[in-house]
């Protein structure tokens, strides 16, 4: 394969603070540092990101190029790339299996199904697939990718971008509403696969068995209005309205206030392809309790309490233990900070460059 002069990326939705978009910017920086011409082509982008990207239909290379598709959703872009002839790298961030949405938002389930089929259709066409976790790599194999042409490299996220300033008004409000139990935080879209309903059940158990008035704060925009309604229904049915806050989409500084006032970050997701909020919790010194599903054990790598089951009794016991055991909290925070070093940008860039080496033959990386 002749050495390409350019390596361009394709991102369906290019938005600020989005993990995939931030990763794409990191990859572009790496590629440019390696001496390649590198641009980001998008299907849609927010106004503040327009200058960083170009519309994908305008892609018109003048010389040999490698195309990198940031695959995280179903998109017409996948079909566009499938029809081109340049060497193709699929950088896979995972698509939620449709069954999680089938009962809630059937149209979303169909879209996810189409998206997964599109990624499967790219399998014979892709020269290389780079998954952001071993869990995702295994998912790629299930979609028909040749294991000899897949590899794993973490997301390129500058740890500096994990930091959130603290909005004082939000912090004061959260501290005033602290209750007399632990403040439990989860950050992620309200979605069936993220199983916020299991967090509410665990909270109910915590109240029932250990008493007090703990708080559960769920930060993230809803990706299923029906699921959000059901979540509210469950909270109301258990009389937990005062204990649970569905914060929705928040600003960076508001998110910072949530991290600053949280006693424990708890993730009970049934399916996560990587889970960047775990890194945010590590960065902000919040101890982590998580259910061992999807890529969570891999991302956490021992830097948290990893529960093999998530029945409310076990989760409540874990939350209570973290809230009341200062020594354990201390060790969890230290382990989190240490784990975060594994994602240091220089290390991640080296691993990503190494992963791309097969398609950049002849170019020193």
């Amino acid at each position: 394969m002749p050495a390409p002069a350019a390596v361009h990326q394709f991102v369906s939705s290019f938005v600020p603070r989005d993990a995939v978009s931030m990763h794409a910017l990191g990859v572009r920086g790496l590629l440019r540092d390696l001496g390649f011409d590198s641009e980001i082509f998008v299907k849609e982008s927010r106004a503040e990101m327009v200058r960083e990207s170009r519309f994908y239909r305008s892609f018109d290379p003048t010389g040999p190029a490698v195309l990198v598709y940031q695959a995280a959703t179903g998109s017409a872009m996948a079909d566009f790339l499938g029809a081109r002839r340049e060497p193709l790298v699929v950088n896979y961030h995972n698509l939620t299996p449709p069954q999680f949405f089938a009962a809630w938002e059937p149209h979303t389930a169909v879209e996810l199904d189409v998206g997964r089929r599109q990624i499967a259709d790219l399998a014979p066409r892709a020269d290389l697939a780079v998954a952001v976790s071993a869990f995702n790599e295994s998912d790629l194999h299930g979609l028909g990718y040749d294991p000899a042409r897949t590899t794993v490299a973490p997301v390129l996220i500058d740890p500096a971008t994990l930091h959130r300033e603290v909005d004082p008004a939000t912090r004061d409000r959260l501290e005033a509403d602290g209750g007399d139990g632990p403040a439990i935080l989860f950050v992620g879209r309200l979605a069936p696969n993220k199983a916020q309903h299991d967090l509410v059940k665990a909270l109910a158990a915590l109240v029932e068995v250990y008493g007090g008035s703990p708080r559960l704060r769920l930060v993230g925009a809803p990706s299923s209005p029906r699921y959000q309604r059901a979540l509210r229904g469950l909270v109301a049915a258990r009389g937990l309205e005062a204990n649970v806050e569905l914060a929705g989409s928040v600003t960076d500084a508001e998110a910072g206030a949530h991290y600053a006032t949280a006693d424990v970050f708890c993730c009970l997701s049934d399916h996560e392809g990587f889970c960047v909020p775990l890194l945010e919790a590590m960065h902000h010194g919040v101890p982590i309790v998580a259910y061992a599903a999807g890529a969570i054990p891999e991302t956490l790598a021992g830097a948290g309490l990893l529960l093999p089951e998530k029945d409310p009794a076990t989760v409540a016991a874990a939350l209570h233990r973290v809230a009341t055991d200062a020594s354990l909290r201390e060790r969890l925070v230290v382990a989190g900070r240490r784990r975060l070093q594994d994602f240091a940008l220089d290390r991640a860039r080296a691993r990503f460059a190494e992963a791309l080496r097969p398609v950049l033959e002849g170019v020193p990386v």
């Binding site: 603290v166 059901a230 089951e309 029945d311 354990l328």
Partner: protein, 338 residues
């Protein structure tokens, strides 16, 4: 906009910068903590602080809020959707912001309309015929359902004679200590069928076991005691879903075929290593106790304990142990699922 680091965070930072703490932290430490947490959850369950019904109630609360689940299983709704989907729109959208593109699309549409029309007509006919056939099939299944329900309503008339027999609470009472001792240590859920007033279930729950019961004459229909027939309920219990099974009442009253099936089902619903405890009456003693006319008209008669031994061994059980109570004419049979 930023702000000073709050007290909580300052504390965390001070903690995290403690070098001694850093050295003492390791992955293995957290595994041990998780084991302690699991043990704590188990202990709280066993002590009754955490009622087994609590988690089931939480699950049930949320299940009731899932919107599509019921409709997904509603035949009419699914068929309606299929019928709507069988209407194929021949006219694809041709609007485009770029006028030239829109004109090309219109041109292409006009050009191939005769062909698409020909294909679409056949597809639509096929889809409509298929959904029509499924609807007719649905009607026939519904008719069979209705006939079966009507038949089932008539069948209990035979059973009603059996129901004239007084309910035998004595057998369960006389063996309840033994049954609780044998079952309270098993791992997994325990079912008592038929559970009567739920006395043994309550004792098992008090002992920290995850138990529930079914009885067709249950006064209440709760999570711990459901108003349902034993065979009817066992028919929907998942394979290997139970750790323990206590059978009583039905073991004497059911017809022979049902009793044979009962032993087979016990082997299916119990997980390997699970325990069955079966309480019954010695048939000779039973015949002496029950009025002759009722005994003759009863749909089923009790089995000898050795008959249960044979049936359980055939159904994959090991270590069958029979305990008899000569004074009461009753017996307890217990075995372990191999």
């Amino acid at each position: 906009m930023g702000s000073p680091i709050p007290e909580k965070v300052r504390k965390r930072r001070a903690i995290s910068e403690n070098p001694t703490a850093s050295q003492s932290s390791s992955e293995g430490d957290f595994d041990a903590v998780v084991e302690e947490i699991q043990a704590e959850a188990r202990r709280r369950r066993e002590s009754g602080e955490y009622p087994a019904a609590f988690e089931r109630e939480l699950d049930a609360l949320f299940e009731d809020l899932v919107p599509e689940r019921l409709r997904e299983h509603d035949f009419e709704a699914v068929l309606d959707r299929a019928e709507r989907a069988s209407l194929i729109d021949l006219h694809a959208p041709v609007d485009d912001e770029r006028r030239a593109y829109a004109q090309v699309k219109r041109g292409v549409q006009k050009l191939i309309l005769w062909y698409m029309d020909y294909v679409v007509r056949q597809l639509a006919t096929f889809a409509a015929s298929t959904t029509r056939a499924v609807r007719l099939l649905g009607n026939r299944v519904e008719a069979i359902d209705e006939r079966q329900t009507a038949l089932a309503r008539r069948l209990p008339e035979v059973g009603d004679v059996g129901d004239l027999l007084p309910r035998d609470h004595h057998t369960v009472e006389s063996w309840s200590d033994g049954a609780v001792a044998l079952l309270s240590g098993v791992s997994g859920r325990i079912l008592h069928a038929e559970a009567g007033d739920g006395g043994v279930v309550k004792r098992l729950l008090d002992a920290g076991a995850d138990a529930y019961g079914v009885d067709p004459e249950a006064a209440e229909d709760s999570l711990e005691l459901r108003a349902q027939g034993a065979l009817e309920h066992l028919g929907v219990v998942g394979e290997g879903a139970l750790g323990g099974l206590l059978l009583s009442g039905i073991t004497d009253r059911a017809p022979t075929e049902a009793k044979i099936r009962l032993a087979q089902v016990a082997g299916e619903v119990l997980a390997p290593g699970g325990r069955v405890v079966l309480l019954g009456n010695d048939p000779e003693h039973w015949a002496e106790r029950v009025p002759a006319a009722l005994a003759d008209l009863a749909p089923g008669r009790p089995f000898h304990a050795d008959t249960w031994r044979l049936l359980l061994e055939r159904s994959g059980f090991d270590g069958v142990d029979v305990r008899t109570g000569p004074e009461t004419g009753t017996y307890l049979v217990t075995a372990t699922r191999g």
